[in-house]
Amino acid sequence: MIDTPSKFLDVNNLAMRFGDGQDAITAIDDVSFSVVEGEVVSVIGPSGCGKSTLLNAIGGLIAGFDGTVSLSNETISGPHPSIGMVFQEESAFPWRSVLENVAFPLEISGMAKAERLSRARHFISLVGLEGFEQRYPAELSGGMRQRVAIARALAHEPKILLMDEPFASLDEQTRILLGESILKIQQTLGQTILLITHNLTEAVQLSDRVLVMTYRPGRIKTEIDIDLPRPRSSEILASDAFGRYVAQIWGHLREEAGRGMRQADHGSQIDKK
C-alpha cells in the first residue's frame, strides 16, 4: 500500500466579506485547499484578490469568516502556537537588537532568559546572521532585517510558517538570494510553508505547488504542481522547465490581473467624477 501524505493544514470553504448591504465586498469566496507536512505552497494572485485576507484568516488574525481552517485536525479560531508569521512590512522591532528580536516569541511564552537567548542564536545562525546579534535593525540592510523577521517567526518552532509577500519591498537580486536562504532553511528544518506572493519567479523558485487565485472575489482558479528537483538553488531560474512553469502560471494569471487592473482604473475614474 502506498502512503499518501496526510493533510496538515486544511482550509475548507473559506469566505470573508467586509462591510454591509450594497457596500459589502466579498474578499475571498469558497477557498479550499490543503497543505501536507514539509510542503511549500504558494498562493499567487493579482493585487486585491484577497491573498493577505486569506493568510490573516489562516493565521487567526481576523475573525468573522465563513468556513473552517484546521491544523493537524484542530480547528483554528485565533493565533496558534503552531503557526509562525512573516509579514510584508518591515516588522523587526527597531528598539531591540537582532538577538532580542529573535528571542521575542520565546520571551512572550515565558521561557528563561538564558535558554531563549541560546535558542535565538541558533535561529540567527540558521538565517546567516551570526556576528550581527548585537546590531539593531537600523544598522542592517532591508534583506537582513527581513531575515531577522524570518528567524523570529521560526524561533518558537512553528509547525507551519505563513509568509505574506515577505520580499515585496526588496530588490530583485536580494529577493532571489533570500529565496535561496528560505530553500536552505526549509530543507534543514523540513519546514511547512505557505507563501503569499504576487511574484511568479518567487512562487516557482520556492514552491512544490502553486495556487492561482482569481481577482475579487478571490477563489482558487487552478493548482499547479512544480516538479523541479530539490534541493534547489537560484541556478534553477535558468532552466527551461522553470521558464515553462512561469509561463504556465502567467497564462492563468494574465486574465485575472487584467480584470483587476480594469476594475482599479474604473474605480479611479468614478473617484474623479
Partner: protein
C-alpha cells in the same frame, strides 16, 4: 580619529562654543556695545554666584524649584501618558477630546493663577497645579502621536504570537511609542518649568523664581543672572534625567 576622540569631540565643541559666547559677551559689554545695565559682564555673574550661597539661601530655593518640577513631571508622566494611551485606545474619546486638548495647549493657563490660588492656596501646590495643567496637553498629544504612528505590523507580530493585550502594550506598543512620549515629556517639562518659575516670580512663595524676582527688584543684575543660571541648571538636570530614563526603559522593554 580614535573612538575616544570622536566621542569627546562633540562635547568639546559644545563647551568651546559656550566659552566663545561668554568671551564674546565679555568683550562686547567691555567695549560698551552692549549696555552693562541691561546685561552684566559674565565675569560679574560668576563673581556673584558665591553670594547666592552665602546671602541668598540658594540651595533650599533650588530644591523647592527642583521639587516642584519633579512633582509636575511625575504628574505629567502618569496623567499625560495615560491620557494619550486612552485617546489612542478609545476612538470615541479621541474624536471627542483631541481638539479640546490641542486647544488647551494654546491656552495661557498661567493667567488664571488667581483662581488656582483660591483652589489650592498660596504655596507649592498651586505652582505645581498650574505647571501641570499648562504642560499636560503636550504630553498627551505626543503620546497619542507616538502610539498612532507605531506601524500596525508591530502589534500584528505580537498578536500572531498569541501575546496578551498587556504584553502587546508593554513589550510592543509602549517601547515603539517611547521616543515620541519622551519628546512630549521633555516638552512638557520645559513648559512646566517656565510656569513654575513664572508662578514663583508672581506669587512669591519661594524657589528660584522668587529669588530672581527679589534680586531684580534690588537691581542686583549680576546676581539675577546668576540665579537664572541656577534655573537653567534645574532644566539641564531634568533634561539629562529624562534622557537617562528613556535609555533605561528602552533597554528594559
Amino acid at each position: 580619529m580614535s573612538a575616544r576622540a570622536s566621542k569627546l569631540a562633540p562635547i568639546a565643541t559644545g563647551l568651546a562654543t559656550i566659552l566663545a559666547v561668554i568671551v564674546l559677551l565679555e568683550i562686547l559689554i567691555g567695549i560698551d556695545v552692549i549696555d552693562r545695565f541691561l546685561m552684566p559682564p559674565p565675569s560679574d555673574v560668576f563673581v556673584a554666584l558665591p553670594r547666592l550661597f552665602t546671602d541668598e539661601n540658594v540651595v533650599p530655593r533650588f530644591f523647592v524649584t527642583a521639587g516642584e518640577t519633579l512633582a509636575a513631571g511625575l504628574l505629567l508622566s502618569i496623567f499625560g501618558i495615560a491620557g494619550g494611551a486612552l485617546l489612542f485606545r478609545f476612538v470615541i474619546l479621541r474624536r471627542s477630546f483631541e481638539t479640546w486638548v490641542a486647544a488647551l495647549a494654546a491656552a495661557p493657563i498661567v493667567l488664571s493663577y488667581p483662581l488656582f490660588l483660591v483652589i489650592a492656596g498660596r504655596g507649592s501646590a498651586t505652582v505645581v497645579l498650574v505647571a501641570f495643567l499648562a504642560a499636560l496637553p503636550a504630553v498627551i498629544l505626543k503620546t497619542l502621536e507616538g502610539f498612532s504612528q507605531t506601524p500596525g505590523v508591530y502589534a500584528l507580530v505580537g498578536k500572531s504570537l498569541n501575546a496578551s493585550r498587556w504584553q502587546i502594550f508593554s513589550k510592543v506598543m509602549f517601547p515603539a511609542a517611547l521616543p515620541s512620549i519622551f519628546v512630549g515629556l521633555r516638552l512638557g517639562l520645559l513648559v512646566a518649568m517656565l510656569n513654575i518659575v513664572g508662578m514663583e516670580f508672581l506669587i512669591n512663595t519661594g524657589g528660584l523664581g522668587q529669588l530672581v524676582n527679589e534680586l531684580s527688584e534690588r537691581y542686583d543684575l549680576a546676581a539675577t543672572y546668576a540665579a537664572i543660571l541656577c534655573v537653567i541648571l534645574v532644566s539641564v538636570l531634568f533634561f539629562t534625567a529624562t534622557e537617562w530614563l528613556e535609555r533605561r526603559l528602552r533597554r528594559v522593554a
